[in-house]
């Protein structure tokens, strides 16, 4: 067995992917420190590092969920009773209506593999696997990672080594937390 720092991740392909990401990040860190690159370029490299680190965090949470829960657990959590179709009888105010409808159980099609980072965080918090404090930190990583979607951004954001170190710190906490749950 490889002497990996992620041996608690039993899926060998996932483990290799995580290790490969860290080797890539190590290369990017050299560029971030290189005085030959302008600050704007370094900012984008920092963003790349944050996105990659967020992917590792997501993979670690996936490993934790997969070890403890089944697809049925996920389906049950995301399924709910809903009024469908709904007939409106009377509108009391813009935020208050009297309605009638068929009350149906809408089964979710989500499984473990279809969960996104936000759903993983919310599920683990609801199940008591992560504290609200860790959930808050994970939300920060998720928000930073989601900034890869350019269309929703209102300004050109600058990313720094401080941002990178902060995400590394959260990722390290998640790693230690997941490892402790799986050992």
């Amino acid at each position: 067995m490889s002497k990996s720092q992620f041996n608690f991740v039993s899926d060998t392909t996932l483990r290799s992917n995580i290790e490969q990401v860290f080797e890539h990040i190590a290369r990017l860190l050299e560029i971030v420190k290189d005085p030959a690159y302008p600050i704007e370029a370094k900012s984008v490299f920092c963003k790349t590092i944050i996105i990659h680190t967020g992917s590792v965090v997501e993979a670690l949470l996936y490993t934790l969920i997969e070890s403890k829960y089944s697809d049925d657990n996920i389906k049950n959590y995301y399924s709910s009773w809903q009024l469908h179709p709904v007939t409106e009888f009377h509108s009391i105010s813009p935020t208050h209506k009297v309605v009638a409808g068929h009350y149906k159980y809408i089964a979710s099609k989500l499984g473990i593999q279809k969960l996104n980072l936000g759903q993983m965080c919310d599920f683990l918090k609801a199940k008591g696997d992560i504290t609200p404090e860790i959930h808050k930190k994970l939300t920060k990583v998720r928000n930073l990672r989601n900034e890869q979607h350019l269309a929703t951004q209102k300004k050109l954001k600058k990313y720094t080594i401080k941002d990178v170190n902060e995400v590394f710190k959260i990722a390290r906490e998640v790693k230690e937390f997941v490892a402790s749950k799986l050992h």
Partner: protein, 57 residues
């Protein structure tokens, strides 16, 4: 012999590697003359202590 050495390095985690070993396996060069330094120590010294702890075993 070279293949044997390379294979033995590949079984090491980043936390176990020296700068020289990392450079050899990743065909890259890190900005230090002390190639015998542990990779974790290198990142600690270069301003990424949390990355060092993240890759540590």
């Amino acid at each position: 012999m070279a293949t044997k050495v390379l294979n033995s390095i590949k079984t090491k985690s980043m936390a176990q590697m020296t700068v020289a070993e990392f450079e050899r396996t990743n065909k890259t060069e890190l900005r230090t003359v002390d190639k015998s330094m542990k990779l974790t120590e290198y990142f600690e010294k270069t301003g990424f202590p949390e990355f060092s702890r993240l890759i540590a075993g």
